[in-house]
């Protein structure tokens, strides 16, 4: 298959890269594919995804206390960026083994674009979260609401990742089907690593009645906790 025409970049600042990502992500991907200003894109996405995630972290943490808000504003960006760094080598090496010619920085830029899109969606939901922060008294409901928001934002980010990978590797058909399956498995791996890291770094919300803790003791896991919260929300049992 013949390679698509190269993109000619336009001089933009870091915020301009964000504008390009939001308004025409396909052109953004095409620039990554053609190696246009990839380091600057990485810097812009790293900076703005951290800012947006820190803001949303402060929103969810203020449910408990100011200290929790500050702690969550640091922990939420760390959660996403550490998960990305843990899972990046897997994607890069598997892509390389199966005949993709993307460089490490291109893979990083693509993954960061997914994280940045997730961060932007979370920021967009911030007023909704603040609204429920002030109007609901049920901690379990508030927690599950935000878990649903994270799931929606994560889905949008991963959808963008799939589109970006298609654009970046469309002209390399050798091994394309296998790479597609690898990407699907990798997305599951990313979700699994991310949820486990979230459990390790908790609390992000801060349970009412418990004092502020930077990290809570290990024990249980993310999935049993969500199940328990659902059970309490629907009146089956009480979380202890």
């Amino acid at each position: 298959m013949s390679a698509p025409p190269a993109i000619v970049s336009q001089p933009v600042g870091l915020l301009g890269e964000m504008e390009l990502l939001l308004r025409n992500r396909f052109r953004f991907f095409a620039e990554i594919r053609d190696g246009v200003d990839v380091p600057r894109k990485i810097r812009a996405m790293f900076l703005y995804s951290s800012l947006f995630l820190a803001t949303f972290g402060a929103v969810i943490g203020s449910e408990h206390s100011v200290w929790q808000a500050l702690a969550s504003s640091v922990k939420l960006p760390l959660l996403f960026l550490i998960t990305l760094l843990v899972c990046l080598p897997t994607l890069y090496f598997f892509n390389t083994i199966f005949q993709a010619s993307l460089s490490l920085s291109q893979n990083l830029a693509l993954l960061l674009s997914a994280v940045t899109m997730t961060a932007i969606v979370l920021l967009a939901f911030a007023p909704v979260t603040l609204f429920f922060l002030m109007t609901t008294s049920q901690y379990q409901f508030y927690k599950l609401l935000n878990v649903a928001i994270f799931a929606i934002a994560g889905w949008i980010g991963m959808r963008q990742l799939s589109q970006g990978m298609l654009m970046l590797t469309a002209h390399e058909r050798r091994g394309a089907r296998i790479r597609g399956r690898i990407l699907q498995v990798w997305i599951l791996l990313y979700a699994f690593v991310g949820s486990q890291l979230a459990w390790t770094l908790r609390p992000f919300f801060g349970a009412p009645g418990l004092p502020f803790e930077l990290f809570r003791g290990l024990g249980g896991n993310f999935y049993t906790n969500i199940f328990a919260s659902l059970g309490e929300l629907f009146g089956f049992f009480t979380v202890r």
């Binding site: 308004r23 025409n24 052109r27 402060a58 002030m134 654009m167 050798r174 349970a207």
Partner: protein, 253 residues
């Protein structure tokens, strides 16, 4: 000339002309043959990659064509990518939006309502996690701590302070909520030192000697509630009335 014509026709038909067959072969330029003479060593430019046997088909990555859906999507993506993005107000909007969220967040966390922030000051924000160690108070003066699904009455201010509770830990709840938990053993401060067999109950900063084991059990105490302290520290605490009051003069630890 006829011979040439015949030779040309024979060549076209793939035959060797008779004239050439009957004549002894003229010396032709020596063509190096693999079986007749050793081939000269190949030069670098003459080297060809060794012909290795092909790997089984299943181990070769074949070129996977795009599915029709993928091809359609890709065409659409490339069409979008070709469009130039004109500068807009989006960066400014995004910046102001984020600053607005941060400003609202700061406002919600300023303690404006009797020392409480709006984010945590609404009257119906009473939800908490039921857990051991949760301190509750109903409409009465008693303060309880939850343990093993029972509520234990904190018997004195000494016990409240001794176990490290603070007034901020106390949650005001409805009596109905409190009544769902059965009464557990009251929470007292029971002290003993290793060199002495006597157990004392701390009340109002005084130690009250518990006369014997039957009295100890009759008061509802358990051995697990006894805390060990140094005898020197125990001797510094002034004596209160023994349990029972007619038990006599309390011994020193």
């Amino acid at each position: 000339m006829l011979r040439e014509v015949l030779a040309r026709q024979a060549a076209q038909m793939g035959l060797r002309p008779e004239a050439e067959a009957s004549q002894p072969e003229s010396p032709t330029p020596i063509q190096p043959a693999a079986q007749q003479m050793p081939a000269p060593p190949p030069t670098a430019t003459q080297l060809e990659p060794p012909k290795t046997p092909l790997a089984p088909a299943e181990f070769q990555e074949t070129e996977d064509p795009l599915s029709p859906a993928e091809a359609r999507e890709l065409a659409e993506f490339n069409q979008w990518a070709a469009q130039v993005v004109a500068p807009s107000r989006l960066p400014r909007t995004l910046t102001w939006f984020m600053l607005g969220v941060l400003g609202l967040l700061v406002l919600l966390n300023i303690p404006l309502f009797n020392g409480l922030a709006l984010a945590r000051a609404l009257p119906d924000r009473q939800a908490f996690i039921i857990r051991d160690g949760l301190v509750l108070k109903g409409s009465g003066p008693e303060i309880y701590v939850l343990e093993d699904n029972t509520k234990r009455w904190i018997s004195s201010l000494d016990a409240f302070e001794h176990y490290g509770y603070q007034w901020n830990d106390v949650h005001l709840v409805e009596d109905d909520f409190l009544n769902q938990f059965p009464d557990g053993r009251p929470l007292h401060v029971l002290l003993k030192c290793g060199a002495s067999p006597h157990i004392y109950r701390l009340e109002n900063d005084r130690k009250r000697w518990i006369k014997d084991i039957p009295t100890f059990e009759a008061e509802g105490h358990l051995w697990e509630d006894v805390r060990f302290v140094s005898c020197a520290h125990l001797r510094t605490i002034p004596d209160g009335p023994p349990i029972p009051p007619d038990a006599g003069s309390p011994p020193q630890p």
